[in-house]
């Protein structure tokens, strides 16, 4: 009996249908449900950093590590502070010792003694996950372990992450790392466990000068939202198209 193309296709089709039935296990939201869910949300978390106010004390980094159980004596951190010293000859020096965990207690930058007269400007830049609107880290996760909530926070499911590190490579801001104990991808969560209870993030609470602020970008009553709307603000590396939601006052061209 000759095998006809019809026979082959019919057998393949029957087989495929038989095995496709369990695919109904996928959970989908109907497009209308999804639209309603997003438009219905009235919360979108955003962050505001004022680099004029940051004094480089590092209490935010310490508080974040202790609040979020990131091992204290390792270099990786969910948030960090960078120091920039721009010299009068145009050179810039930058450092971030242990992410700024112990503050900045030495006038030496990058092992270079800097004379006070040589300094044109100097400032501190706190950084954290930008909880981007188009997060490239979520796009590249192969198994759906990292995701974005309806209110804009990007989280990692520690029980599902396989530890491939693709999300870490995909983040242009260096916000992600492997948790040394859980060995899954880790990053700033905007203290999701705090903000969803009406508290502020650990770093915002710890900051003595109010350089860090968090708020709901959809609520015009939040001071953060008012500033972003009415004052001159910038974001980091916007050329990547990630639409970061951490806004900066006083960002300088030297900031990396």
């Amino acid at each position: 009996m000759k095998l006809t193309r019809r026979d082959f296709l019919m057998t393949a089709l029957r087989g495929t249908i038989a095995t496709a039935l369990p695919i109904g296990a996928f959970k989908f939201l109907k497009p209308s449900e999804a639209r309603a869910a997003i438009e219905g949300t009235n919360v979108r978390w955003g962050f505001l950093v004022n680099t004029y106010k940051c004094i480089g004390c590092g209490f935010c980094v310490k508080a974040c590590k202790l609040e979020n159980e990131v091992p204290y004596n390792v270099q990786v951190t969910r948030t960090w502070v960078e120091r920039y010293v721009i010299l009068k000859d145009g050179r810039f020096l930058a450092d971030t010792p242990m992410g700024g965990r112990d503050g900045f207690t030495d006038s030496k930058v990058q092992e270079e003694e800097v004379k006070n007269e040589e300094i044109a400007k100097g400032f501190f830049v706190p950084k954290l996950c930008n909880q981007c609107e188009n997060p490239p880290c979520v796009q590249v996760c192969p198994v759906g372990a990292t995701y974005q909530t309806a209110d804009g926070v990007v989280l990692v499911d520690r029980s599902w992450c396989i530890g491939c590190g693709y999300c870490i490579m995909a983040c242009p801001y260096g916000a992600r790392f492997f948790h040394p104990v859980y060995k899954t991808a880790e990053k700033c969560t905007f203290c999701y466990h705090r903000i969803t209870k009406g508290m502020k993030t650990a770093c915002v609470d710890a900051c003595p000068t109010g350089a860090r602020q968090i708020g709901n970008l959809k609520d015009p009553n939040y001071p953060v939202t008012k500033v972003i709307l009415n004052q001159r603000v910038a974001v980091l590396k916007d050329e990547y198209g990630t639409k970061p939601q951490a806004y900066y006052i006083g960002l300088d061209k030297n900031v990396r």
């Binding site: 009996m1 044109a120 974005q148 309806a150």
Partner: protein, 156 residues
Amino acid sequence: MKNHVLRPLFVVIAVIALILVARYFYVPSDFGIYERGFMYGYHRKSNEGEWKAFKVKYRTREYCKDCHSDKYKSIMASKHRIIQCENCHGPAIDHPENPPKLTIDKSRALCKRCHTYLPYPTSKRATIKGIDPKKHNPDMECSSCHNPHKPDMEGW
């Protein structure tokens, strides 16, 4: 006589079926596509609740002020009012049940965070009164002369 060419196809279908059965048992039932769509919202929904339930450690000074009212009033009347109690003493967590005592850190490292003088134009750091830690009484604890809860006056 069935065509033997199809035999490998049956093996393949059997393998796929096996994978789908394994998937049914392994993958949690609430794994799916949620509000942010497939690209950004493909996940196990119950993980969101797990993150929300994470333990809060830092309580802010509102938690400290009733029992430690003397220290609270003292510091709130001074320039150090902007520093949270827990910044220096560590997170309260469930104090006084756990931990029964918080640390009292008297090291120079703690004070050097803000008070190492760094003359950076455009930064608020330059406005903080500070010293060169290598030169200013390098062997002594800062709190020997300065009261952290009442730093406006020299000494205790």
